[in-house]
Symmetry: C2
Subunit: 187 residues, 2 copies
């Protein structure tokens, strides 16, 4: 019986508000104002700020990166980096993710939610990616998928979400080359 358009307005407002002021300063009243909605409409759906944010965020983050299989490691890598870099250059996402990550380090519930929504999936993608490459003989058998994920996501995350420096045109290509060489070396 809850109206869908209202719910959607609230969800949007929460994401925007998260991006603008961060979780620490997010207030229900501001969300209601931004959504053009009464506080009652919010409290009818969620019982407090934490529950609301967790539900909304985990819902959005749940729809995540597909598992690539292009037939070659270089292709998989290129596709994955494109997808991730596009996601991390999204205005809202690049504001919200670092903020929630920081918040997660002091709030176990947020940590757990993000863990489920992001990290687990990432590692699964990484495992598959490396597994395929090893099976094809493109990477040595001992290649560590965990290190691989760090080498892949770390620099991108660092640059796009932390340092907030734009990507030069050939950056992703260089990264593919670099990461490939790195992983071959650590087998």
């Amino acid at each position: 019986m809850l109206r869908g358009d209202i719910t959607r307005a609230i969800r949007d407002a929460v994401m925007t508000e998260l991006a603008v002021v961060g979780y620490g300063r997010l207030s229900i009243e501001a969300v209601a104002r931004r959504a053009g909605v009464g506080k009652t409409a919010i409290y009818r759906r969620w019982s407090n700020k934490l529950e609301m944010v967790l539900e909304i965020v985990s819902d959005v983050a749940g729809r995540s990166v597909p598992l690539p299989d292009t037939g070659s490691f270089a292709g998989d890598l290129q596709l994955l980096l494109m997808i991730v870099s596009r996601a991390l250059q999204h205005r809202i996402a690049s504001q919200i993710i670092p903020d929630l990550m920081a918040e997660a380090s002091r709030n176990p519930q947020i940590a757990e939610t993000l863990q489920k929504a992001l990290r687990t999936h990432q590692q699964a993608v990484g495992d598959k990616l490396i597994g395929q490459a090893v099976a094809r003989g493109e990477l040595p058998a001992g290649t560590d998928p965990e290190l691989a994920v760090d080498l892949l996501l770390g620099p991108l995350y660092w640059r796009l979400a932390v340092a907030r420096t734009p990507l030069p045109d050939d950056y992703l290509d260089k990264m593919i080359e670099a990461v490939t060489a790195a992983l071959k070396a650590t087998g």
Copy 2:
């Protein structure tokens, strides 16, 4: 005439409070409580929360990483990674840095301060590191120092400050191997 011990107590309290609740929820009253100090003592030194945090943080962050020169690229790399990983595993630092980074994306003053205190210095270290290695012939001439910094700091930052996963014993060694191979490949 301001008492030094009081000032020091406040500085410590600010750092701790930043780590515990983050910038967004940091309150002058909580800082005063934690420092065992009157609010007046704080307002006698700084005129508001932002000014106080900026001054204290930039002071702490100013004392930063030395420029390594061990005579070989592998040695430089090992030393640098050790220093950085130790810093990022420090309880207070690993809480405060991601929090302020997230805050910086919405507060230009914080962004500028962090830029000065951290990023500029990092890039200088990176430039020197790569420059030395190129001069010694350990890396190809075209090696991009910016990409190098990303490849070095990204994975460490990602793992220690974001994912908060502990480092296996051989992790840094693997990283050195991987990054060296990566940089040689992109020349």
